[in-house]
């Protein structure tokens, strides 16, 4: 497989098992390769940032109506009561589906997407010591007294910072990120990208919480 194709396959999650491990070993030893992977990861993140907000837009009613009405195209084009009822049901389901698929709605004040369900769960319940694709690194209070947490998400290949605002997590910083090869046992924060650390520096009041403080804040459901 040629080099560009392997990089693409790695970034797109198409390498499995031994191929992936071999690639990651090369990645650790080859800074140029790592830089190319970084560029490709960044491209994915930029495309997502550009196109994903479309998922949060309300679906135009005419499209909802099409799904309800198109079945009986052969028949007369007048709607019977049953079809209107079906259409109404469709609209209701569409609205509901939108909520379920995208539970956090239209994004934070900074125009960043709000954390998706898996990330929101990790922010809610995770501790820095926990393993898994989503890792929490630092937990701290910002100058307003709200709790904020930095995270890395290996499956979405992003890292960022989210703060608790009125019972939900708001993404404050989000950046493309890929786990460095063989980095599973790094200390918390060592993998946090510099942009995220800079945001922490700008926002933090006092020191990051220690493990006990973190657990206590979680058990208090992140209330101030």
């Amino acid at each position: 497989m040629d080099r560009d194709l392997r990089i693409a396959a790695y970034v797109d999650g198409e390498l499995s098992g031994a191929d992936r491990a071999a690639f990651e070993a090369e990645l650790a030893a080859d800074a140029a390769l790592a830089a190319e992977v970084q560029l490709q990861t960044r491209l994915r993140a930029r495309l997502s940032a550009a196109y994903d907000p479309i998922l949060d837009e309300p679906v135009p009613p005419r499209l909802m109506a099409t799904t309800a009405a198109a079945a009986n195209d052969a028949g007369p084009r007048r709607f019977g009561l049953g079809q209107w009822a079906a259409m109404a049901a469709c609209l209701a389901i569409g609205v509901l589906a939108g909520r379920i698929a995208l539970p956090q709605g239209s994004g934070s004040q900074q125009g960043l997407p709000e954390p998706r369900a898996g990330l929101a769960r990790a922010l809610d319940r995770g501790l820095a010591a926990d393993a898994g694709p989503i890792r929490i690194s630092l937990t701290f209070r910002d100058q307003a007294g709200d709790y904020c947490r930095t995270f890395t998400d290996a499956s979405e290949r992003v890292a960022g910072l989210a703060c608790r605002r009125q019972d939900r997590w708001e993404t404050r910083t989000l950046t493309a990120w890929a786990p460095a090869a063989g980095s599973e046992y790094r200390t918390a924060g060592a993998e946090t990208p510099p942009e995220v650390l800079a945001a922490v520096q700008a926002m933090i009041a006092g020191e990051p919480l220690d493990a006990a403080g973190e657990a206590k804040a979680r058990d208090g459901r992140w209330r101030r």
Binding site: R46, A49, A50, G98
Partner: protein, 163 residues
Amino acid sequence: MEPIRRQIVDLLPRLRRFARVLARDSADADDLVQTTLERALSRAGQWAPGTRLDSWTFRIMKNAWIDETRARSRRAKVFAPDEDGETVGFDGGAAMQARLEAAEVERAMARLPEDQRLAVALVLVEGLSYKDAAEVLEIPPGTLTSRLVRGRAALISQLEKVH
């Protein structure tokens, strides 16, 4: 409502996103979604339960788009590439920054040859596997990956040059 109809309703946000990659103008994109829905629902019996409904519907959309662009070129209706003027309202700060960034990405995508743009959209935006994306585009896997590699290289050279 039969199950396929319900599942297509659930797919609507993704269909709209894929359509926006094909037809940049959002009204054109929703027209394309509408055509796709009509075709998908009229052929619902052809969908094999247990196979991916998203891939099936994307393939219908891809073919609807090809029909549409052919009809347009027959009518010699040439669309000016909308290079000029980001249609971004003044809303200040990070939100505007995000929209400018999105507009830049969309312009770079629009400059790609269509076959590369489709490959990039299905894999990098829609998250399909190489196998599924190749099936949607009805091309061999090797063709898909070469389009993907060329498309990515072109996007990176455009998007990274000013940074």
